[in-house]
Symmetry: C2
Subunit: 421 residues, 2 copies
């Protein structure tokens, strides 16, 4: 299953903090912590099981201003801050009164992950994967990716001084290639689409010794990084859960992990136990979870993506069924929007709150709008929307729809004639 070979005796004490085992989400079977991602019994997804002990608000608040303030809740060692990493997280939670007014919501916040080190939430998950790779003795830190993940892996690997190899489709736009190539001399362009790149990555993970593919063989560790979004939102609200939260859905991992984070905070007594509704946001051109939700079925039918929201374009989302389950169980919903609505969402967030989001964030804003209009989201309750990445990475999405209001000669008379004064 994986060739990151470190015998257990080689693992140092506390390599994974309070994590105790890998536990199958489907059958509950437990395996030892290591580079495994599928249950040997039922092939279900493995996730991290912990014994947290006591964790206090004071302990967290005394920590660094990045995700490591939550290290006791992550599969990382207690000395994680001392290992070079990009120090992601603790991004802005902005009160979004202007957007709220336009949408008819009373109390709205935007959690802005576009200000992370490589400008997306991927820095969080990659930082956790990097820790696992280091503790497991990996020699190479790698991923298949079309964008945000490639940036995050290449940057984190550079800073950690570990060799990175990043695989991308060869037809990827040049700016996106540069944004990874600047960090690594081992960017590999693959003739094929993302599925081909992904398949090649799995093959290499099986053949090569000591390779940690962040989203393949160390995925259970990687995925835990998304929990920090949930922790931060609660802490930044003053150790309180919101009533409603809207989260974009690609593989669905982020949504399930934010829910997991909220549940952990409740169990640890760090926030009051209260109901909250989780909403999933998809693009119409890749909406397998939304389609299943609306049809009232439990199974996700894979689709071939066709949307400008490339970072959400996963046609067969691994955690789709868990997203369905969480959204239904909490009283939320899953909704989707068109590419035009996504473009409008990007501009609306920029014009109201000064945040330039990528297409995934445009999807979230547009879905939020649609949820209010269709009465699925209660506009009187406190709501948080997550912005997962930066608009500079998906400039093409809006470059046709925004631009100068006027082009003038450099004279006051020419300016006065524009009517902009």
């Amino acid at each position: 299953m994986s060739a990151v070979v470190v015998e257990k005796p080689a693992l140092r004490e506390g390599a994974f903090g309070n994590a105790q085992a890998l536990s199958c989400r489907e059958c509950g079977h437990q395996v030892e912590l290591g580079p495994h991602y599928a249950c040997p019994e039922c092939f279900g997804p493995l996730e991290i099981a912990y014994e947290f002990g006591t964790v206090t608000r004071e302990q967290i608040e005394a920590g660094p201003r990045n995700i490591w303030r939550y290290k006791a809740l992550l599969p990382v060692p207690d000395d994680i801050e001392s290992s070079p990493n990009t120090e992601p997280g603790f991004t802005r939670l902005l009160k979004a009164d202007n957007l709220a007014a336009e949408l008819g919501i009373t109390n709205l916040w935007v959690k802005d992950d576009s200000t992370n080190p490589t400008n997306s939430f991927k820095d969080r998950v990659v930082a956790c994967a990097l820790s696992a790779a280091r503790e497991l003795g990996a020699k190479v830190f790698a991923c298949p990716s079309t964008g945000n993940l490639a940036n995050a892996v290449a940057a984190a690997g550079a800073r950690a001084g570990i060799k990175t190899v990043v695989f991308i489709p060869s037809n990827l736009e040049q700016p996106k290639q540069v944004n990874s190539a600047v960090f690594t001399e081992s960017l590999v362009a693959v003739n094929g689409n993302y599925d081909d790149v992904n398949k090649l990555a799995s093959e290499i993970a099986g053949e090569e010794e000591g390779w940690a593919f962040v989203n393949v063989n160390v995925r259970p560790f990687y995925a835990e990084g998304s929990k920090t979004l949930g922790y931060e939102i609660a802490e930044q609200l003053g150790w309180r859960l919101p009533d409603q939260i809207v989260i974009p859905v690609a593989s669905g991992s982020q949504l399930t992990k934010v829910h997991k984070a909220f549940q952990e905070l409740i169990k640890l007594g760090l926030v009051e136990d209260k109901p909250y509704k989780v909403f999933g946001a998809q693009a119409e051109g890749c909406s397998p979870v939304s389609v299943a939700y609306k049809a009232g079925v439990d199974a996700i039918r894979p689709v071939k993506p066709d949307t400008i929201a490339k970072s959400l374009a996963i046609g067969n989302p691994a955690d789709g069924i868990y997203v369905l389950d969480i959204c239904k169980q909490t009283g939320g919903a899953v909704e989707d929007v068109t590419d035009d609505e996504i473009r409008a969402g990007i501009v609306q967030l920029a014009r109201t709150e000064g945040i330039f989001t990528e297409t995934a964030g445009g999807t979230t804003v547009a879905v939020l709008k649609k949820l209010v209009e269709t009465g699925q989201l209660d506009p009187t309750l406190e709501t948080v929307a997550i912005n997962t990445g930066h608009g500079l990475k998906t400039l093409d999405a809006v470059s046709g729809s925004v631009g100068p209001a006027a082009t003038i000669d450099p004279t006051y008379a020419a300016f006065a004639a524009t009517g902009l004064a």
Copy 2:
């Protein structure tokens, strides 16, 4: 001088916090706080004079995780956090051991302002200008700019709900136009170069009532925002000044304000009084201050810029003589590097620390390298280098020099043949 007309009685109590007056840097003449930027006696630059009273570390540490934790040291009201703003600052101070090792330095830090809301240090200064504009009753928030400043003004204005008008040269690259146009419907493209745009802005500032041009008539307030870089560095080092600091020089304002910040911290007893050396970094293609430093003269001879470091391309830097003075007085220096060295600096910082900087940051890294090689900077002393902005904004600078190591078919055999395994 300015048409932001608010009679003094209309200013609310405490509108500018501990700021007491505008004081001429040249002759010391004081004028009332308002939209003024040049001394009525001698035309010298005006800057903010304060009476701080007592400011403690505890007071600052209890503040928000953005520049407003230093509000007692800025010309802003005590309730500044409650007015919508982009909440910039408190960016990463990263220990840069990999870069240090390559450069032969023992103890190096990078202050990374590329993770600010619109990805440059300009968010700091614009936030202070926005506060002044609001308190002065301005109706329009404006600037002439070719890049970072335009982004910051358009975003901050959108979030504050104040009308923004941003002036750019009409031949500006489309991505840079989009990165401002997404925030404002009043982007004005001007047929001409930056000097033409700037001249037009001054003309409009004189003609129109209630316009706050951030870098023209509210410049003294605006410039104070750069002090927060100095405060943060000291606080993040554990309330301690570094021995050496390297700062890029465009107008020179940032360098003088970081020095001012260090001096204020010493006077307030917030850090120990100790010597520190300040170094200025310029691009050879626009190096009027470096040329004067090397020639040992006090006067700056203006130049016509010709460099890829566009955000440093100010041929007649307003604060150049103060930069010279500070660098000489503290035992530092001013140095410049070629465009090729700048490109190499960008890649070196990315590959060693996972930070993708713009050309200004590449300049700083390259100058740091040159200062060590020429013996001007002591490699055994603690050193901080400032990264002012994000590489995504100046992609062209490196797009020709980095890229995939290999392009392969999607098979393991093809990968194995690359030698990257």
